[in-house]
Amino acid sequence: MTPTSAAPKVEGEDLAARVQTGTHFMLGDHACAEGALAAGLDFFAGYPITPSTEICERLAHRLPEVGGKFVQMEDELASMAAIIGASVAGARSLTATSGPGFSLMMENVGLAAIMEAPCVIVDVMRASPSTGLPTAVGQADVLQARWGSHGDYGIVAYAPSSPQECFDLAIQALNTADQYRIPTFIMMDEIIGHMTERVVIPPAEDIPFVPRKTPSEPPGEGTFLPFKPDEDLVPPMAHAGQGYRVHFTGLTHDEQGYPRLTAAAHEKLVNRLVDKVRLNAEKIVMYEEYLLDDAETIVISFGCTARSARHAVTLARQEGIKAGLLRLITLWPFPETRIRALLDTGRVKEFVVPEINLGQVRREVERLTQLPVKRVNNPGGAMITPDLIIEVMER
């Protein structure tokens, strides 16, 4: 978990309206929206698409109640551009979509990365490619979240496994976006988005809040360099209307923000965009371990599939298979250090990677080990059952 201050962003009546403290029986999509509201979401722009629509609808109701802004845009190209625009004007902003819209948003994910405009993109994954199975589960946008826009840049992507985690990770994602000034993803899947479960919303004062860094010098002195990073590689951010007269561009730029079209300037900028996530990966990475201590068979999974995987591990143990689960909470950064440490014990004999795609996380695991990495896949449309996972373990 990243270090957090407990200071809430909003106060008084607004805060009470934002944070619906209590125990709820709540849809995953709604829980995601409520988490974002609790974390101080100011601005939502989006375009309806199954299975993410309930996030959009919920925020259409709830944002106006707390003084936030909701805009339904003409498409996802516009939605993505609008949340970046709102971000540079000081908003905590978010959009929500599914595969077809996620592809359109990729254009300006790169702009958010190079402008260092914090924002959150929720992708509730359905079976793809193209229109695929609009109402059925998929998990095949994992690599797209990491590599979907052209070029090299750093992002963080979370994968909730329950409605409760949709709530918690929405808060985490808005904080991470602001802390590192990056586009941040919440990679839900149709089953998690459409699952209704117990969600506990804590008191407002327990909602972690990590603010965006702001310039230390006042405006008007002409000394502030909008893209000069601090030691953590993240520059403080000046917003439109504050008087700093900033220039932001999608072109390669210098610390002033002015275009600097040279290989040297490009190297400096792009390396920093990647490094601010890469060098902080250990702080950002989140995962959950289940029976890993003596495990010889390591199951790696995420999202709805991790729920099957957990049950499969429990059943496998009853059959005497020394199985354990590493559940990814961040898909990106990938928990390489943890996996390497497991390998270093010499105990691990194999990996099993169940996922509702044809091997996207498996590819990451294979990159780290020569051991067998067994696949349990389908390309979308149905949950992977625990039986299937055990069957593969036993092979």
Binding site: E13, F25, A45, H61, P64, G85, A86, G90, A240
Partner: protein, 306 residues
Amino acid sequence: MTQTVLTGEKKTDTHPVDALLRADRLPHILCPGCGIGTAMHCIVHAMAESGIDRDKHVCVSGIGCSGRVAGYIDVDSYHTTHGRAIPFAVGIAVQNPELAVTVVSGDGDLTAIGGNHLIHAARRNIDLNVICINNFNYGMTGGQAGPTTPLNAQSSTTPYGCWDRPFNLPHLAHAVGAPFVARWTVLHVRQLKDAILRAMQKPGFCFIEVISPCPTNYGKFNNIGSGLEEMESYRRRCVVDHDANLADIEIDLGQEDSPIVVGNFIDVDREPFRPILAGPVREEKPHAAWAGLRKTQFVEDKNGPE
């Protein structure tokens, strides 16, 4: 601005709009005879005269030669992606309604790749000033045809002459609901500046088409000649008609004897977009049919939070 002339002698004369420009970014990239600099001049003058605090002005551009304008004006400025200047600006304008947001971009940027955003922002009447610099081609990428390239015109992608019908931009903007619509050329510096000023002071979506020479990539291939010669043809051909029937003001650039109609065509009152603000102290209430979207079922908490 400090200029070094060929003799090496230093001149320290300042220009009246220096203070409004990012002098440290000059000289600009625009070609000799290009009209974009003149349009930019009108924009900064309008900003200065607007009575709006300079720190509340924001300039947003897309990609293209015209899209470079945001980079030269000394206000908070955003040079975005090709076609997305308007939705980016929508995010700024909706988030902070105190800001006067001016979008400056090219005909290709705003009406081809960004055409969908143009019509929807106008339909919603978002509080934006949109200045579309129409040079009848994609200047930045070397003179390809676009949605404003006249019939039969030459361009690198219409070597047999352009056979698509071009947009009539004021007619389009009016049809999709813009409450202020004007067209001027860069020859009409005063009228253009005044139109921009009006747009800055008027709430809602204001659209101004600025006809501008691109001698490098359009004029040269279409018997127009230099930037100066193109300006000369504007002088000969332009007819000011604020009451023109917008359906009739298509530009037939290749026909020397056809007029170019300019003017402030539309200026009507229309309620601008504002985001709904509901809640305890506000007026709007959602329809009861949607109550389920807001309320969640509270469950009895037997075990306490875990």
